[in-house]
Symmetry: C2
Subunit: 336 residues, 2 copies
């Protein structure tokens, strides 16, 4: 079996998760180069990695470069992806910078793996909140075109990076101890609060996160006509995004056929047994690979209306796992 | 000014909040009788009250009896309201048991105060999640009939009572200390988690809480044709419910006219300045009387579609304050 020279750029929450995922999935690795702003040694789950200082020359001989950009800021890919591509690597970028460019495929492998073919050196990994939504929409879309999506999110702190994840626990401890709160990673208090803003405000007073769910879903499903509108909200959960998704299909669907289609979808696990109070919850999604779907039910008044409750580990399927799956799709596509 | 003999039944989170509210609003009280299952002395914000053991004879001479029933269980009103009414009292019931009965008005005073006229001795206080939603819908409904409502809630622990409220902080401390979690008031872990179930499961796999938002809103707005569908979710917040409400009106509205109408609505405070990152948040709603509305924006694709983000103190406007306001509406109506 062929093995590949891999670069991982960034050693934040997502970068570390990529290193773990390459190992747990037995990715055919010939060598791993870990790149960041400064050289140092890091430990990830008991394995030590030597981090090298990134430079345009870092990508010589690299087959696949996995960039772990920071959500909401420009990623290292803006500076270094062109050098990596020039050296012959395919870049898989976790950041938002390239996602909507025409010549950059945006891929959730279970949905549109074939799109990897069209890459010109860069493939983008979608936003965490898009990935789990679009994977749940995909099997339903195959039953009937989807006309509308109204999405509300309950997003975990770690989606905003390691410092935000730490701030949730530290600030909560400060609160319970009656101390002054340290508010730094988030612009508002997150302990025992919810913040109805993720990203910065843009067109029509929607946030960047809310627009990502619209445009990225259009691109992945190859359908710009779906009327998607979202409200994205940060909740005091460490890891595991939840989404309440209201869907309007072209033709009315039965709950049973929706459940069957979701069950048959690779990457999805249906958890929907209300008699034993089983439904997806974020803390149970942490550390798992699947997208969990439950609370599947029809709108009482609108025959085409349908609800789903969807959770996933935002660092895994929402980021690192999906990026590694894109690399696997590239290999399966015979690009190396 | 006439003064009234008041009974308050129940000394849980809502009962105590009613005692506080009667005081802070200078309700014209001649006497207050506090009733519960067992006699004892309690302290509420530095004032002591002698609790008497409730019996059918407790209501002699009482003008207004405020019942603070427990959400999701039968309230004391089922047993004692008939005796209170027989003694000539008007019962204002915080529980769910009488809300949908034909001869029981269900009242949010800013919306349908006139309905108090039609009482036959019992007036119901709506569910907390209904009250804040319907108050926000009301001024919009006056601009255009509302065709559809798709609601997602982010509800605080104290909505499930004092023990649930305590469990949130205690369990969170246990979690941060690495101890075993005590899960008792909620059926699932609430620390750093969200639970997509409030109440018990019923028709079409919706929960009792989700149906309350449908039927109670129909009754208060006198319009059974609004297509309302909700997903209700518990979040790790102590007090302050948040709701993300998607509205479809009959005619398209401008954001500015919606904002103007909301601003003019008594009981509502618009907090919607995204340039300075101002929007309603639950921890800022705690201990306040208003219903806060922000994130007012149009659906990018559906001209009749409109989003609101609404927060309120679930123990005050969502319960105790609204109950006392119903009593005030009764007095203003000249029923005494």
């Amino acid at each position: 079996m062929k093995q590949y020279n891999i670069a991982v750029v960034g050693v934040g929450a997502v970068g570390k998760e990529i290193l773990k995922t390459l190992k747990t999935r037995n990715f055919p690795v010939a060598s791993i180069k870990v790149l960041a702003r400064s050289a140092r040694e890091i430990d990830v789950d008991g394995q030590s990695y030597m981090v090298e200082e990134i430079s345009p020359e870092s990508f010589k001989g690299i087959d696949i470069a996995l960039f772990a950009g920071t959500e909401g800021e420009k990623g290292a890919s803006v500076t270094y992806a062109p050098s990596a591509v020039k050296e012959g690597a395919v870049v898989i970028d976790n950041g938002a910078d390239f996602r909507l460019k025409d010549d950059v495929p945006l891929v959730v492998p279970e949905v549109n793996a074939a799109d990897v073919k069209n890459n010109k050196g860069i493939i983008s990994n979608p936003n965490c909140s898009t990935i789990q939504m679009v994977l749940a929409l995909h099997p339903i879309y195959k039953l009937s075109r989807i006309k509308r999506v109204i999405a509300n999110t309950y997003q975990a702190a770690s989606g905003a990076g390691q410092s935000a994840s730490d701030e949730l626990y530290n600030q909560t401890a400060e609160f319970l101890d009656g101390k002054d709160l340290t508010i730094k990673a988030f612009s508002k208090r997150i302990a025992f609060n919810v913040i109805p803003q993720i990203g910065s405000f843009g067109e029509l007073d929607y946030t960047t996160e809310e627009w990502k769910m619209v445009y990225e879903t259009h691109k992945i499903l190859h359908d710009d006509n779906i009327k998607i509108s979202a409200t994205t909200v940060r909740v005091p959960v460490k890891t595991g995004h939840s989404e309440s998704i209201y869907i309007e299909t072209e033709k009315p669907l039965l709950v049973d056929e929706v459940r069957t289609a979701l069950n048959a979808q690779s990457g999805i696990k249906v958890v929907d047994d209300i008699n034993s109070l089983q439904y997806p919850m974020p803390y149970e999604s942490e550390g798992t690979d699947d997208v969990f779907v439950g609370r599947i039910r029809k709108d009482p008044y609108v025959p085409e209306g349908l609800w789903l409750w969807v959770t996933a580990d935002n660092l895994r399927k929402g980021a690192a796992l999906n990026a590694v799956q894109i690399a696997e799709a590239l290999i399966n596509d015979g690009q190396f």
